[in-house]
Amino acid sequence: MQMDASILFQIAGIGIIVALIHTILKQMGKEEIAQFATLVGFIIVLVIVINGLSDLFQQIRSVFLFQG
């Protein structure tokens, strides 16, 4: 439970920081790099989320469906 709540804060923190980086890079006039930074941040968060999702699906499968 402790770890689970920290995932939420992790994602929120990454989101805020990426938005900040995006804004700063856009102000500097580097639109493409800003888009790229957003994409990288999104992929990092996506990896975290997909880990959680696979964990959840494994749990559901082991509890309900009696396979692996």
Partner: protein, 130 residues
């Protein structure tokens, strides 16, 4: 007191969502997704005990294991379908959510086929063949 933790988690997630919604990017949606996953994980840990209870009760009553297994599978499909449909609906894809729900219903019906046929067989046995 897991329920207090879950409610706190929901409130924190709402606050973070409101903060992230104004910033651009897909992170707000991922917050929703992770919150759903975390709450589901907490619930499913407790659900194991309930399912064990159901299984022991079924064994006590000497119910055929196939029926209980089917019912548990149906419950699992219902949970997963609900999760997927809700998340898809939150992302703004109402049509896809409806299709996911349709798929869940179809698969539940597919799993229930053996039970339905068993019921129909039983009914047919009651009716005297003329």
């Amino acid at each position: 007191m897991d329920i207090i933790q879950i409610v706190t988690l929901g409130i924190i997630a709402s606050i973070l969502y409101i903060v992230l919604k104004d910033l651009k990017g897909p992170f707000a949606f991922l917050i929703i997704l992770v919150t759903g996953i975390v709450i589901f994980l907490v619930v499913i840990k407790q659900l194991g005990a309930i399912i064990q209870l159901i299984e022991t009760l079924g064994q006590r009553a000497t119910i055929n294991g196939m029926y209980i297994n089917t019912i548990l599978k149906i419950i699992g499909i219902a949970y997963i379908t609900e999760l997927g449909a809700n998340i898809t609906k939150d992302a703004g894809l109402g049509a896809v959510a409806a299709k996911i729900e349709l798929a869940g219903k179809v698969f539940i019906l597919l799993l229930a086929i053996p039970i339905i046929t068993a019921v129909i067989e039983a009914i047919l046995n009651f009716i005297p063949s003329t």
